[in-house]
Symmetry: C2
Subunit: 404 residues, 2 copies
């Protein structure tokens, strides 16, 4: 039987993520992978979580294994609100939080409840590909704004906003990862952040701030103020997650925002999945209460810093000088632009044959441009793998540039 005739029109806009398809391939072979976005599992606080899980089920099983409110377990939202205040300066009432299945679900819920077909959605070029995919299903009109070493080029944004206003276009929202961006690794400068929030006010749109790397900055003297602290009128919807700080397998994300929108998100989530699993919320609430995450963060930063340093060291040594790459102050990714007529999607097959994988940059652009770019992950591979893998990649790039 053929099923095409049963599919909704939306399914045409549901793209399989290139990364996940790719990872399947890489897993089967013995390849050094800079492709994924996985935290280093050595950093999971296994012993502490093991004890906590045991105790939480034993002592609070009748709640931790039971249904919970759609917004999330109240106890967890309280601990989370305290954590956000201590670490990000964000004052949130627990009632202004919806707990989601990872930050991905946060983005999907925002997308479903805010975007209508044809609405203008502004994104960075490049940006997080799974956010693009979540938006795409809603058939928005994407407008891209390039990033440089200081994040989104807000002066370019302003030009585009002017044009959009002239056209009479309805600007719905702007999606940004201001700190240690995925995929580019860049961080927005304080001036640009300030100006961005002003522009949202001036041009009347919402900002979705994806802050999943906000606490993973390892260099000193980097301004990591979240946009939401600069926002005076309730235009910023803040999205976070414990995936990179504790465990992605628990899938705990959250949205913090104005109550009126939070109520809409809650209503949407009711029919999406009733609520995020209670058990992982109870476990993480207890981990927060015991300070597990805050104790672990310095270790994570130090560990990833060493890996980033190794990657940049070998790249500086071996990459052709014409190739541009970012020097991330934090996060898990680094961005490469070959500045040549080379398609990194085509190059990938050869890379995998030679024993190294990355994600071709195209998927991170709303219009699939950026064909000479690639994303490299430094959080998962070991320092040895980084050194070896980057050397292979450098050779491959030299070859490709030579023949381009």
């Amino acid at each position: 039987m053929r099923y095409n005739r049963f599919l909704s029109a939306d399914t045409q806009f549901m793209k399989a993520s290139e990364i996940r398809e790719l990872l399947k391939l890489v897993e089967q072979r013995n390849v050094i992978s800079f492709a994924g976005g996985l935290p280093d599992p050595k950093l999971f606080p296994v012993d502490e979580l093991s004890e906590i899980a045991k105790e939480v089920i034993k002592e609070m099983g009748s709640k931790a294994l039971q249904y919970a409110p759609t917004k999330g377990v109240t106890l967890y939202r309280k601990e989370l609100a305290d954590f956000l205040y201590r670490n990000r300066g964000i004052r949130a009432d627990p009632e202004d939080i919806v707990v989601t299945v990872g930050s991905q679900q946060a983005i999907d819920i925002i997308s479903r409840t805010l975007i209508d077909p044809g609405d203008v959605v502004i994104v960075e070029e490049p940006t997080y590909l799974a956010a693009l995919n979540a938006f795409r299903v809603r058939r928005p009109r994407f407008v891209g704004v390039p990033v440089d070493d200081n994040g989104m080029k807000v002066e370019v944004l302003e030009e585009k906003l002017k044009k959009l206003r002239e056209e009479g276009a309805k600007i719905k929202l702007l999606y940004t990862i201001p700190i240690a961006q995925n995929p580019a690794g860049v961080t927005m400068s304080p001036d640009r952040k300030k100006r961005l929030v002003e522009l949202a006010e001036e041009y009347d749109f919402l900002i979705v701030e994806d802050d999943v790397y906000g606490l993973l900055v390892f260099d000193p003297n980097i301004d990591t103020t979240p946009l939401t602290l600069l926002d005076k009128s309730g235009r910023v919807i803040y999205v976070g997650s414990f995936s990179k700080m504790l465990s992605p397998g628990m899938r705990l994300g959250h949205i913090v925002g104005p109550r009126e929108l939070i109520d809409v998100f809650e209503r949407a989530k009711q029919s999406i999945d009733l609520h995020t699993p209670s058990l992982t919320q109870y476990i993480t609430a207890e981990a927060l209460r015991r300070g597990v995450i805050e104790r672990n963060l310095p270790r994570i930063r130090e560990h990833y810093k060493a890996k980033r340093d190794a990657m940049i060291r070998v790249m500086e040594e071996k990459f052709p000088k014409s190739v541009w790459f970012t020097r991330p102050a934090g996060g898990m990714f680094l961005w490469v632009k070959l500045n040549a007529n080379v398609d990194t999607s085509e190059l990938l097959q050869r890379a995998i044959e030679k024993g190294v994988a990355y994600v071709p940059g195209k998927s991170f652009f709303h219009d699939y441009s950026g064909k000479d770019t690639m994303r490299l992950n430094f959080s998962y591979p070991t320092v040895e793998q980084i050194e070896k893998g980057i050397a292979i990649l450098a050779e491959l790039i030299r070859e490709a540039l030579g023949s381009s």
Copy 2:
């Protein structure tokens, strides 16, 4: 700031579930609640799960806390496939399964990927209200088919199908809970199940079979064959969950279906939440491996049977003879129809004042008819609460009927 202008058109169709709003109210007072749909937490295998959680994190933490495939943890899908074969006779390849955040997400994913505005979606009258809400966002044309003690009236369905064919309407899918239905508690007879699958073939539509109560039948000699076993051409999409058999707080549901559709569901899930939490899948895989669920099931059935018996006993004794109610062979709910011009939504306020709560039946109808009906839950309250609460309810109903 007002946010209405930022909301998508879909949000108009996102209804807050009456049950969940109601439960908030009931929690605040000392009310005997027949309103929720909660399993009895006494039945959670707390000690076993506590040990399993500890061991799973300790021994497999680097996987159980890490990202997992979108379809679900491979190990878990294998255990699940074995469980489905042993207990429901369903032969599923683990690749034909998508693990979801409860059966609610299963329904939402099916809804998003299959239903276009105006498509005919056939539902039982009454049916599970959160399924209605998940469908509603897609703006289908609902067609209702009443149930009686033997489940969906398939002869009425056939008449409606004929009419729809005459109109040239496109029938997309039929949603049914064949066994121990929520809310009515009724179970479809073998003849009707057989005829239903034939009609799907004849009229070319898909069946979504919600089997969350399939293993919670406590009476003997009840046919519990799932529809999917009668299906020869791949028209049945099977939805299940461990919420009622193990723990709703783990939020583990699943879709089993034809590979071509499973691939579409997987693609949708990628941008919805990447994947269902790994940790709860690893814990449940181990619980399945150790036979925790199968060992616990007879105890659950016995426990709920005693509660159902208590509820029916008091109802037979105290309810007016003109009131119709179902005698469920399993599940967690029982359905009451007052057969009078009484609106149970209006009655509820008085019921809560007198110390008892239920869910007014209207929300379980796609067209909000059935105003003289109500759903009663017997799995959560104690036998004592059931006896006391039903006596209060009987008095209230007598009063209402007297004055109607």
